[in-house]
Assembly symmetry: D2
Homo-oligomer: 356 residues x 4
């Protein structure tokens, strides 16, 4: 479904090297699965669900540390009260549309019941962005089985991007958006680590889009590639999931989460009023058995080693947003609405024009 990745076009973001797949799955143990629903009858579906497993399928018994930041809270991410209270995450993370958060949440609980006898973590993390322009969102297409299929599809390695899973019907900077991912390798005094980001990008205005600082959204204006919207409006929301294998504490995960704002801002996001710009970071470097009977041994990277992680988050998020757009293909959907893809040739022309 993907057309290209940004680096395929010769465009590089930032100064840090990417991981092997330039994907969130470069963090060992992080698996991603999609399930997409695309059909026109009986009601138009352009939606789906994406599942991220923080530690393959074992995070229920062996939690990870996590932290959260909202640039703008016009959206939903369940499960955050316990993330904030405990700094821990013990469930898969799922991304879908605004009206399917509930069914996905209950499906993750039912999955726990079915696969694990009901034991364990009952506060799953499910986030959403709104796909109601291309998808008949009031049809509530998704059922629990689709969530189980996404979990079954989860795997390491390259991650499908663009019009897939939760990102199927999304729109970004007035181009077709969706799922994107990227990663960076980090070297600091504490060692070598990987940081990865996955976004469900459904935000931003055309004129604000920047690629490596250059005003691509102005250069490829609405007169060249029409807006998906009938009347100009701010589209909305981006969910960012950040993963690292570094032994970070919850406060440090929160620090990483907030740096998603930097990457988003570089690409032209501003956090519109109608947007749910929700950033969750988790770190797998410590093991947190759910039923620990005594004090747990942990490791912590000193705060003053974290700057390279901040750059890694900013770069990964910036590139993941752009990957979502270079991957996504033009989509015709609900009520004849169309979201045009970012034209790759025009993008390359603009970048070349500013090359000096």
């Amino acid at each position: 479904m993907a057309r290209a990745r940004l680096r395929d076009l010769g465009i590089t973001i930032g100064k840090l090297p990417p991981g092997g797949n330039n994907a969130i799955t470069d963090v060992p143990g992080v698996w991603v699965g999609h399930h997409s629903l695309v059909y026109n009858e009986p009601r138009c579906a352009r939606t789906g669900v994406t599942v991220i497993l923080p530690r393959q399928d074992t995070s229920r018994e062996d939690h990870v540390f996590a932290g959260f930041h909202a640039l703008n809270g016009n959206g939903e991410m369940t499960g955050l009260l316990w993330v904030k209270e405990s700094g821990m995450l013990g469930s898969p993370i799922a991304l879908t549309n605004t009206s399917q958060v509930g069914i996905v949440r209950d499906a993750l609980t039912e999955y726990t019941v079915r696969e694990h006898g009901g034991a364990g973590f009952r506060l799953p993390v499910v986030a959403e962005t709104w796909d109601g322009w291309l998808n008949d969102i009031d049809a509530f297409h998704l059922d629990k089985g689709h969530v189980f299929e996404a979990i079954a599809e989860a795997r390491p390695g390259p991650v499908p991007e663009g019009n897939v899973g939760g990102g199927t019907g999304m729109i970004c900077h007035d181009f077709k958006g969706g799922i994107g991912t990227a990663s960076r390798l980090v070297a600091c005094e504490s060692g070598q680590f990987t940081v990865g980001a996955l976004v469900q990008a459904n935000h931003g205005e055309r004129g604000d889009l920047r690629v490596d600082g250059l005003p691509v959204g102005c250069e490829i204006g609405l007169e060249l590639v029409p807006s998906p919207w009938e009347d100009m409006q701010s589209s909305s929301s981006i969910v960012v999931i950040i993963a690292t294998d570094a032994p970070l504490l919850p406060v440090q995960c929160k620090r990483l989460a907030q740096r998603a704002t930097i990457g988003m801002a570089r690409a032209g996001g501003i956090g519109h009023n109608g947007s749910g710009d929700l950033f969750l970071a988790f770190a797998t470097g410590n093991h947190l058995p759910a039923k620990a009977g005594c004090t747990l041994p942990l490791a912590m990277i000193p705060h003053h080693h974290l700057n390279p992680f901040f750059y890694a988050v900013a770069e990964s998020v910036e590139e993941a947003i752009l990957n979502a757009m270079t991957a996504a293909e033009t989509m015709l959907g609900y009520q004849g609405h169309t979201a045009q893809e970012l034209p790759l040739d025009l993008l390359q022309q603009v970048m070349a024009k500013y090359q000096v």
Copy 2:
């Protein structure tokens, strides 16, 4: 279903007068509806859903201000990101069990679609406590229709308490718990107002229970009234909804929400690790049209007039918790588990013993 209210027993909490019904519905426009599921076949159900309408059924078009506080975040309340970001609430509030949050959330969205053409608020507030001791929680009993019925049942006036709605299968201080409510009349320099609280009480240990400061939980120990649990464990979670007709701003609603801790502490709560102690306060005194085209006129009670409100919240929450227990009847449920009611005669004897 209710046996008695605390005041029926001659026990008074605090110094402020209650409203006409001594219930959250004393705040004009606040309606409450329950739907309970109690049956043994095919799988044991002791659960339900409770709906609170902040402004009858118009909060979708005319939002209220709201604020939130968690004493302990081992629980779920959806919709909080927008409450925090905007200070506004535009949906019904629903209370249910841990595994039914998703279906209730989607039902509230579907209700909006069905009744209001899908327009408006899509981030509903649904909170939970865990009823899995008396209820076969993995049966996922609730469906969307039950939520619609609870909304249809919503009304002003006296509120059924104890084993009803979301509170059906709850346990509090090792007695049978459930839904409770209370209210207080507030007089301050800014005028006369009402504060009401509704709780879904499912928290606390026996020995910690206090009534008006007196150690009722020690006096009516586990040797007199057995624990519902096979092995001693901390039961978990209380959700508190606070309403007022005063024109409070979001920061002020948050201040009220935090005072629920005071009322809960007076009755013996401490916020156990496994507990989701989640407090949401809303204020109907300002009108916030969802589609306002210009600057909105508001009113605000000065912060230095708020002390009576803080007392009103503390007293209402303390009494609402106790009302939940005096109302609730002994329940036999899942796998033969039994939660004994708080014996009213013993309660009165203890109170009399300390009367001086």
Copy 3:
């Protein structure tokens, strides 16, 4: 200066055993020092400063984890932005009055410069409550030398309570207040630990005061012991410092900090609008070298072992507040204002009356 401690009067709070000194200094390495200013010329001084050293005088090089909670934020505690961001604390903690926060803060920095060549932690934690009824607060009595003297006085062992240090001119529940402390021993699956609290108590109304749940403030009303205030007003603010030697993470310190509300509520506090009810908890169980060159080894008590810590905090804070009042002596101060001490005989009579 102290008259008695609560336990000297035969009154016991809670169910956990206290540490050897029933003081925050029972946590190994925690030292406390006071410097008090009490004189009438040239301007009336009833003020001072109290210093708490988290790890003797080494927290600058070996930080502790910390977390914060405000029940009500009408007050000042400097240094919190870094506590929140990093979860770490690397300075002494000082308590003084509202108008002396600045000089104390700069003194702590100057102390670092003088004693440690300026290296290290520059964001010290200084908190305040308002002593302007008994003390001529606009005289700005304190200078940097007084802070150095308090640091020099810091030591382990018993802690002077009542009218000392930062607590010199404070008023609590309309009796003379000031500094109080208490501690508890905690046993959990992770081992044996100590929790201690120190309060600068300057809050509360007479009628709200409870001792072990009993309505002491009503029984010893303003007709028996007059209010310090000319016109009835809510006095204001309590600062609580909580220490433990357990290896807690920052999120866990924050959880402990919030439980100070429980102890305060049990004693009759409600968090008045004008009050700065500020709670800081730190844990010395992990070592965090300021200049760590590689990943740090840590330990963490699992969250599900924390309930005994929550009880320990609630009990310690409740008893520390009461200790502040039983220790403090009647004080005549600025403009002839007088704050009467809590009469110990009346207190014992009330407690006996309710004994059953």
Copy 4:
């Protein structure tokens, strides 16, 4: 002291028009005053204080609404607990260096005592960044009189930028930094308003500096203009003050404050670990008498009109940071350390090179 403003060089940021002075003082009633200390004997001073009066000198009696966000909390801003609790601000705001926060805080209190008989707001807002490379920070140069002079100097109209006031000794993106300001005019359905920002810019690495998205920091590398630092290090901290005359509520001020991150990110900031990136926004459009005796009438701009404000903040902050650098002149300071100014001719050459 200023060399130029960015617009003098023909460089424009963003799409919104600036106010008359392109300064925070374009918001009616906002006054700014500086006091600078620059001398070599007896100890080297390159420091000062900047004061922002939110409503001329009346904010003590007529508070403003305010909100805060920290991108990174390695810094100090006093007074925030009450800003968070109440959403209100009633003091001048002062900016200085890290070691002078205390004296400035107490000076603001003393000013209240002297000018206003001690009545009123006692929780002033003072923020800092670290100037210890150019300034002998351990000399604690500032005294209360300097703060009073800055207040006396406060006025509307053009604001001196660069090496003045609190910004005297600051370094930004490895060029000389300091104070900068900018403003934007906002039109929305609720009317016409002004947004202004003032920064004390002391953050960022050379290679990250961007001007209107273009990689100026790479083009004017350390080989062209040497770093001020002997060994490469992350310099630290930016304080941003945002003002508007719009009738915004506290939650809305907080939303504006967070958008400072966007402007900072566009210019190349990332929020280093050692940085205190502290953003405070206030809104003068409502009047909040300190001693209100009854309910206050307010106005509120609906949230869905706020997008233009978000752009205005981002653009103002981005331009204010750049103005700080174009204004600041090369400074020789403590121990012979030198911070080079941003060369304006090179800046213009780089911008021209990318002009297409």
